[in-house]
């Protein structure tokens, strides 16, 4: 037996036991009260049977027997039911404590093995959880303002208190995030029934296959996508899957197939609804857009296929040849897109003529705080999700002849395509600090002027029209009270020409939340040393730091000493009120603890003195 299944059953059982107790205490004895008791007992019995809880099933079966005669309840039957509910309550309590010895399902553990222990859980109102999360977010924003105050006043005690506050707020957020998580499969509990009913009504045969249901996501994501997914599935059954005869003529199996999958990439959840139907008729979409005066005839004629496909998301634009009673009123894909965008995500369609349609919905795994690096480039400031960041390096940029907006950076000897961040930055050339980020296409370098800070951002979605290139994950208010646009690494990768190949991301563990970020530098013997990112003011180029008159040092066997290279990246840090730069000839990395790959800690404290 799966622990998660048992936990779900126990949650459900608590609700039914509450319902049974309420019905028994209500004083009602009519047939309606009896029917309500029967419903609770019967549902519980089904759950107990599916988990092989024979003793519980048997007790519930007895309860049904008490009610089997129908009609009103008498004193005797009420008495027996109360005793029975007490017995069921006791058995459920034992299951919750992991004390029960009964699991008679033959293919499961031996009859005497104990049930998996289930950690005690309390039910909490979603609105209460949301209020707590809001308060935690406000706390994080206040912390940002305090950090800014500590920076401007250079108050070391305040800075220390802010650091501790930061750790507490981070733990609070992690706890709240965990409390909000639910398996994705809760999204599609209703869907097999929807497919079955709709296919039956349309005279079609359709199977629904699901995968990735164990992926855990923010409950608000589940809530926001549940209804739109029903629309998407109804669309797939109604408009996607062809009638059996058409499928036979096209040489396809008579039974249509809809594949519903969930997967995690970087910090996003990708849900796909793929059918093996006829695909979307793009000319019909163009025609419908003209009829609905969304487009002129000439405009529609010259609309490329991708833009025509995007029309399917327009409100009220049905793709069906005729409006059907079930889902052909054009309600559906626009609702899916609106829900995805309201979560800061996106919805896209892929269609192959005769081979089917895939709807891809991508949303952030969590709609809470997002840890991000604040980077600056060409006088502009942007945020980059920390979950996607892999490495920072100083590199020469070699423009690609076929793609002038892309250059090849060399990151620890490995070529990584890089782009300039910022509107006015122009083509990448010369040399720059390169922040390497993981994208759905592979690793991409962002050529920037420096990393100035790290903040937990409450990301707000941007309307799609404001971000036509799709490179923004949203926008947020920083601790200093100003706004910043959060870049979406996947969106940036999508702007690259298809011919530019991105190297694969070796560390595909980005979905795991980071514990502590620290920046690593190389010492003169190429040994890596780590400094908590909170102590780092920013990363800049050697020339910039030297021009600003910052005293520069290199790491020698764990201590600071004279610089040996007058090039590379410089980590600007503050130690005991002194600002200094640490030169790292091989670039700087961002690592996430505590599994720090053998990186040693560089101790920077008030006792610090540079080596002679």
């Amino acid at each position: 037996m799966d622990g998660a299944d048992l936990r779900d059953f126990l949650d459900e059982a608590s609700e039914h036991l509450d319902g049974l107790a309420d019905a028994l205490d209500s004083g009602r004895r009519d047939a309606e009260a009896a029917a309500e008791l029967f419903r609770h007992l019967h549902t519980l019995k089904g759950g107990a049977r599916s988990l092989g809880l024979r003793q519980l099933e048997s007790a519930l079966h007895d309860g049904e027997g008490v009610l089997h005669g129908g009609g009103a309840l008498d004193d005797g039957s009420l008495e027996r039911l109360r005793a029975l509910v007490n017995d069921v309550d006791r058995q459920v309590g034992e299951l919750r404590d992991g004390r029960v010895l009964e699991h008679a399902r033959p293919d499961a553990a031996s009859p005497t093995s104990p049930a998996p222990a289930v950690a005690p859980r309390v039910r909490i109102d979603v609105a209460c959880l949301a209020r707590l999360a809001e308060t935690a977010s406000d706390l994080a924003l206040d912390r940002g303002q305090l950090a800014e105050l500590a920076r401007t006043t250079q108050d070391a005690r305040l800075a220390g208190a802010v650091q501790r506050l930061r750790a507490h707020v981070a733990r609070l957020h992690e706890g709240l995030a965990e409390a909000r998580m639910e398996p994705t499969k809760t999204l599609w509990r209703r869907l097999p029934g929807v497919v079955q009913d709709l296919a039956g009504a349309l005279g079609k045969r359709v199977v629904l296959e699901t995968s990735g249901g164990e992926t855990r996501v923010d409950r608000r994501v589940v809530d926001a996508l549940a209804e739109p997914l029903v629309h998407a599935i109804r669309n797939a059954v109604d408009h996607g899957i062809e009638p059996a005869e058409a499928r036979r003529l096209a040489g396809k199996p008579a039974v249509g197939r809809i594949r519903l999958s969930a997967a995690v990439s970087a910090s996003a959840l990708l849900i796909e609804v793929a059918d093996d139907g006829g695909g979307i008729d793009l000319d019909a979409l163009r025609l419908r857009a003209v009829q609905r005066r969304l487009l002129g005839l000439r405009e529609a004629t010259f609309l490329d296929d991708d833009a025509a496909l995007a029309l399917a998301f327009a409100p009220g634009l049905s793709t069906a040849g005729e409006v059907t009673t079930v889902s052909g009123r054009g309600v559906g894909l626009d609702a899916v897109k609106a829900a995805a965008e309201s979560l800061g995500g996106s919805a896209r369609l892929r269609s192959r003529d005769g081979a089917g349609t895939t709807l891809a919905i991508e949303v952030p795994l969590s709609v809470g705080l997002m840890p991000a690096f604040i980077v600056h480039s060409a006088g502009e400031r942007w945020a980059v999700p920390m979950a996607a960041a892999r490495e920072v390096a100083w590199s020469a940029l070699e423009p690609l002849p076929d793609a002038p907006a892309v250059a090849l950076a060399s990151v620890r000897g490995r070529p990584v395509p890089a782009i300039r961040v910022g509107r006015t930055a122009g083509a990448p050339r010369g040399a720059a600090i390169v922040l390497v980020v993981a994208t759905s296409r592979g690793l991409l370098g962002l050529a920037i002027d420096g990393v100035s800070d790290e903040e937990d951002l409450l990301v707000q979605p941007l309307p799609g029209r404001l971000d036509p290139t799709g490179v923004a994950a949203g926008a947020a208010v920083l601790g200093d009270g100003t706004a910043v646009v959060v870049l979406d690494p996947n969106g940036l990768a999508r702007t690259l020409p298809a011919a530019v190949a991105l190297p694969p991301d070796a560390a595909v563990s980005a979905a795991a939340p980071h514990v502590d970020a620290f920046v690593t530098v190389d010492d003169v013997h190429a040994t890596r040393y780590g400094i908590p990112v909170a102590h780092v003011s920013r990363v800049t180029a050697h020339a910039t730091a030297a021009a600003a008159g910052v005293p520069l040092f290199a790491v020698h066997d764990g201590r600071l000493g004279p610089q040996t290279h007058e090039a590379g990246a410089v980590l600007l840090v503050e130690v005991a009120g002194r600002h200094l730069g640490i030169v790292s000839p091989g670039g700087v990395d961002i690592d996430f603890g505590p599994g720090n790959n053998g990186v040693r800690s560089l101790i920077l404290d008030s006792a610090w003195e540079p080596a002679p």
Binding site: L311, E380, L462, P468, V471, A475
Partner: protein, 140 residues
């Protein structure tokens, strides 16, 4: 649509006097720091923080400004939009003179809904805050 007799908030953009219905103005203040966007559709230039929320910023005549300019926070549908102005003008009662627009600057084409006169201040190009709605944008 602004109608005759309505009270409008006037402001200048590139030496043109513009007006927007007072009912559409949530607040007037100094424009907050504008975070740029990648290729936003004109006249949007970026986003700014306003009372803890991110609002889109509209600059009808973008150029370098030495000082933070004044800004009108407008109700555009359910959302707020920050509209950058060069100078703030008077609050005036207007009488529209023509729905047919003679010549309006290129940046105002599609935004100006009518031309009005107002006592003492002359011609005012009326704009509709709903032109900056983003969430329920039509396709195409």
């Amino acid at each position: 649509m602004t109608t005759a007799g309505e009270i409008v908030f006037t402001f200048t953009v590139c030496r043109h006097l513009l007006g927007v219905a007072v009912r559409d103005v949530s607040e007037v203040g100094v424009c907050p720091f504008v975070a740029p966007l990648h290729h936003p559709p004109a006249p949007f230039v970026g986003v700014a923080a306003h009372r803890g929320h991110v609002v889109p910023v509209v600059d009808l005549c973008p150029r370098h400004r030495a000082e933070p300019p004044p800004c009108l926070f407008l109700h555009a549908g359910d959302a707020l939009v920050a509209l950058v102005a060069d100078e703030l003008g008077e609050v005036a009662q207007i009488c529209p003179v023509a729905d047919e627009l003679p010549s309006v600057p290129s940046w105002a084409v599609g935004l100006v809904t009518a031309i009005a006169t107002a006592p003492r201040i002359g011609l005012v190009l009326l704009i509709d805050a709903n032109a900056f709605r983003l969430w329920e944008a039509p396709v195409g």
